[in-house]
Amino acid sequence: MAVPSTDRGAAGNVAGPEKRHPVEFTAHAGEYFRIWIVNLALTIVTLGIYSAWAKVRKRRYFYGHTRIDGEAFEYRANPLAILKGRLIAVAAIAVFYGVGYFAPLYQWLLWIPLLVGGPWLLVRSLAFNAYNTAYRNVRFRFEGTYKACLKVVLVYGWLVLFGILYPYFKHRLIRFVAENHRYGTTRFEVADFKKPFIGAYANAYGLGFVLIAALFGLGFAAMRTKSPLLFPGGVVLFYGGLFLLFAYVRARTTNAIWNAVRIGPLSFESALRARDMIWLYFSNLLAIAFTLGLATPWAVVRAMRYRASKTTVIASGRLDGFAEGQAQQVSVAGEEVAELFDIDIAL
């Protein structure tokens, strides 16, 4: 059965009154704590094999508790496939770090396959995750090709070398990721989000500059007065500053991206606030540190609930009209290797 590859799917043609659907997140920290701790214990007892099931259960729990218009998301990955991917990933990581520890001089040689393979991993990982995510029994898809991804990396990747131009590269990469997603047959459309996205980084760079100047000032003061408090003060200032900047950039860029995305008749409103995020991350950090990690589930649920509470789907048509595309299997290896190498482009 051939599915016409229409740009906007059937949904684009259905017009209607605008309706706001806040994203609901209904997970409970207590319930997730039990899932989390049982996952951990079983992973330990099975020497890691259960971790594939653990990952699927965790995702299914969170997806199942994320609802729009009363309907929940589904995560459909097969744990056996994930286990296979993990074994491949562990082998790859062992080679990478083994060479890194014992022959660091040769490690740069491994960056070549990582540079060439990185885009492949990214594309496969996105495809796997999209294909295994469904809403209202319609799957997401990622149709970005390796060639197109490599092109983005090669054409704009060198900007990373000039730290200050990095945001432009990141923006291109995220644009590539977002534009190539589909919900069923309906393509994600992405308006220009360059300005708010790069603006967030520009502000952060400005603040970072002030922070560095303050640190230099503190350093001079420390040399003059030899006060024992100035060194820890500098450390607190440095990490505190990084923390603020991280949370700020996270909030602003997430908003910039989601406010630019359209899926057929749907648009999004993301209103994360930097100061909320700073408090959220900071309190989570303290909670995790002081409970020896036991507050991790609570922290995760809390962060997700906040994110959901600030996200709204605006539907100018019905959510009913999205067409499912053609089935195709997506292999898992890319996803697991990418995860271990921390290759992740979050939307």
């Binding site: 059937a10 319930e31 997730y32 704590f33 039990r34 899932i35 989390w36 701790i37 049982v38 951990l40 214990a41 079983l42 992973t43 330990i44 099931w53 259960r57 965790k58 299914r60 729990y61 997806y63 199942g64 508790h65 309907e71 929940a72 589904e74 770090y97 520890y101 014992f102 022959a103 660091p104 001089l105 809403y135 209202r136 029994n137 319609v138 069923g184 024992p228 060194f231 923390f243 991280f246 949370a247 991350y281 989570n284 950090l285 303290l286 995790i288 540190a289 020896l292 990690g293 991790t296 589930p297 922290a299 995760v300 962060a303 959510l319 009913d320 009209g321 999205f322 067409a323 499912e324």
Partner: protein, 338 residues
């Protein structure tokens, strides 16, 4: 007969249709507006339960039923998932969760105290000496030039120290190429350190601090102990293992919270190094006896180092004591060494 409400999706669009489902022994019947469908139970696939999330029943041709009626789904598909059904029952009750917590805590404790050091020791056994030497070269490259310059001691003095080092390493035949590297490292103070593969760096300040050459031999024997027991390599492996463990247990939260694990990890590292120091001390006592020296020399130099440290404390230098076991205890062990 089981009967429940569900939402039906036809597998072609995102349109939802509220339906009533009747479950019989061999099939289910789905009834909704303009829909009447009989599906044999054998053609249905049901997802394992996770928490209180909605259950999905996958029909042939990609159609789907979703329902919140967990009891009805369980009644229709008893024991559909042997493994995950059991896991689900564990996840639902606090006593099991607490048992899981006990298992996890015990494992974490055991890993940190015994497991990781043991694993590092075993893995180190598989690492060829040549690789280890390479690791040492890297570290040495960091010290040379940046922190240390060639020793300012006279040639005859250096010759005498090399002689002592040669006596200590004579006949060890463990594959390491032992080398004594006297260096002038102003920022480090009186110190000596062993690098994986056999290089031992000793600062001029230490030579000047020592009251007798036997005391220098005592420090060198301690450093040789580090080399022989492959402490540099084992520390590297333990650090990697600890980081991996922390990531596995708490890597769940956002990346920034990984900061929270940095401090405990650093503290644990120091605990490890204390254990390794004791191991190197023991080796030093034994080796000193073998070459006809007394472990008392070790006690003496420890006292001198401690005094020196107290005098200089307040400075920001990497000192000999921050990662070492309580000096008094080490001195006592040296004095009572068999």
């Amino acid at each position: 007969m089981t009967e429940f409400d569900a939402v039906y999706y036809d597998g072609r669009t995102s349109a939802r249709k509220p339906v009533r489902v009747r479950g019989y022994t061999l099939a289910i019947q789905i009834v909704g507006e303009g829909l009447r469908l009989d599906v044999p139970l054998g053609k249905l696939r049901v997802d394992p339960p996770v928490g209180g999330t909605r259950r999905a029943l996958h029909l042939p041709d990609g159609a789907q039923l979703q329902t919140d009626d967990h009891a009805a789904v369980e009644a229709l598909f008893p024991r559909a998932h042997a493994l995950e059904g059991w896991v689900h029952s564990l996840e639902r009750r606090w006593p099991y969760a607490l048992a899981a917590l006990a298992v996890t805590a015990a494992f974490a404790w055991w890993s940190v105290v015994d497991g990781l050091p043991l694993a590092a020791k075993i893995v180190a056994g598989f690492v060829p000496v040549a690789w280890e030497a390479k690791l040492g070269e890297q570290t040495l490259g960091f010290f040379e030039g940046r922190l240390c310059r060639p020793s300012a001691l006279g040639a005859a003095r250096q010759q005498a120290l090399q002689q002592r080092f040669a006596t200590l390493t004579a006949g060890l035949a463990d594959g390491y190429s032992y080398r004594l590297l006297p260096r002038d490292c102003r920022g480090i103070g009186a110190n000596a350190f062993a690098l994986p593969g056999g290089a031992v760096v000793m600062t001029d300040a230490l030579v000047k601090l020592a009251r007798s050459d036997d005391q220098i031999s005592a420090v060198l024997a301690h450093e040789i102990g580090h080399v022989r027991h492959r402490h540099g390599l084992r520390m590297t492996l333990q650090a990697a293992g600890l980081a991996a463990l922390a990531a596995a247990l708490f890597g769940d939260a956002t990346s920034i919270t990984s900061l929270a694990t940095t401090l405990p990890t650093a503290l644990l590292q120091r605990g490890y190094s204390r254990e390794l120091e004791t191991e190197a001390d023991d080796y030093a006592f034994q080796r000193l006896r073998e070459v006809g020296l007394s472990p008392k020399a070790f006690a003496e130099i420890m006292l001198l180092l401690e005094k020196d440290h107290k005098k200089r404390s307040g400075g920001e230098s990497r000192d000999y004591f921050s990662t070492h076991p309580a000096t008094a205890k080490r001195i006592e062990r040296a004095l009572t060494a068999p």
